[in-house]
Symmetry: C2
Subunit: 239 residues, 2 copies
């Protein structure tokens, strides 16, 4: 079977967390909205047309034959547990699910650094508040979240977030580290000495053969000013 | 066995979503941090002491014998699926999980109406921005999220969010409706004519015998200015 991923074209966004899982396991998938007519197909599902049993509020959402699931962390845990990219034991699965949600939280906060007032308005309309919110994010939230991932890895002899091998949660951690490094290069350089295990895990994920091939391919879109992780130099640490 | 719920005492907060599930199924549980010495026990787990296999970043987290899970939506889906308060079929479970995360998103946005700049600062220090963020929340986000729940219920002949009977997702929807009604009574009154099915579901949940008893008990804390759903009249629709 071929999975169908529905996500906005032209940006990594939250869809990227799903892509990483599909690419790592080598699952055949259609990136629906990137194909001809795909955006219309995606919007039809969001209007409740076409018989999907679930009404998605927003992309990403996924079809796996007759099963549909939406919300990034629900999709990645579904795929990871189904495709062998999750811990096998129940505690490991619960830990991975908990961490996937913690990562979703930091992703949402990273988004809000450039949209602190209103998601429906442009960055330029909320630039001043964005600087205050980004300052708080860099000064306390980033260290809190990333330090938590670091400590979690430190407690696990396997050097991963959950279980005994790389899981979908680790792929999401990779994406967050790379995304934050793109958006806040100076702040991430400042924090780097405190996060050796997280960066080692990031490198380990990036070196997995299928992921390395994906990351070097044209399917991996570059970070840009439409996604979650945006590089506005004025939102980073002062030079 | 007795479940152990770890959450800050003195406020409903995100812990309430877990309490509602435990109360509805009649599961024995200890609300750890509300008991003598409980706050210290909770903080010890967060420091990684005491042998829990999972390091929680923040409350709520839950212990079920040897299993530990953190993050509100991960806890409620774990409990709901284990205790018969979730759809039995796989699609129903995926739908409930997706919706639990959508509800977590609106909860986070409701929180950010009073803390749009920095979670570590007081409301009074970000009151002006809070008014702009709350205006956006009331004008577009509330209707988007709640309208989505309304349409989801409308598509289901059972009149619930997922599956054929009330699930943990519906209990979370109840809490969001009551929380938003407390925080934004005027905005919620304005939206009410567009949300008949969501309000009917809210009433149906509140009338479940164990929940009705819980809601009338002293265990149910009142909404206050420490939780997520805070009533600051200046953040609501103009009178």
């Amino acid at each position: 079977m071929t999975y169908q991923l529905f996500y906005w074209p032209g940006l990594q966004g939250r869809g990227e967390f799903v892509r990483l899982v599909l690419e790592d396991v080598g699952a055949p998938y259609e990136d629906v909205a990137r194909g001809p007519g795909g955006l219309d197909r995606m919007r039809a599902v969001m209007r409740g047309e076409g018989g999907a049993p679930l009404l998605p509020l927003a992309p990403p959402f996924l079809r796996a034959d007759d099963l549909w699931v939406s919300q990034t962390a629900a999709i990645t845990s579904f795929l990871g547990e189904r495709l062998g990219l999750a811990p096998a034991d129940e505690q490991g699965r619960l830990t991975a699910r908990s961490l996937a949600l913690t990562i979703a939280d930091v992703v949402a906060e990273a988004h809000d650094t450039h949209h602190p007032v209103a998601v429906e308005k442009y960055y330029d309309e909320q630039r001043e508040v964005a600087q205050a919110r980004a300052a708080s994010f860099r000064a306390s939230r980033m260290a809190k979240y990333l330090g938590h991932l670091e400590r979690t890895i430190e407690r696990n002899p396997a050097g991963v977030l959950a279980g005994s091998d790389v899981s979908y949660a680790d792929l999401s951690a990779f994406q967050v580290v790379d995304g934050l490094t793109h958006a806040f290069p100076r702040a991430m350089a400042r924090l780097r000495p405190d996060l050796p295990r997280l960066h080692a895990l990031r490198d380990r994920v990036a070196a997995r053969p299928r992921l390395a091939a994906y990351l070097a391919s044209e399917r991996r879109l570059p970070f840009n000013l439409h996604g979650i992780f945006r590089h506005y130099p004025e939102l980073d640490d002062p030079a």
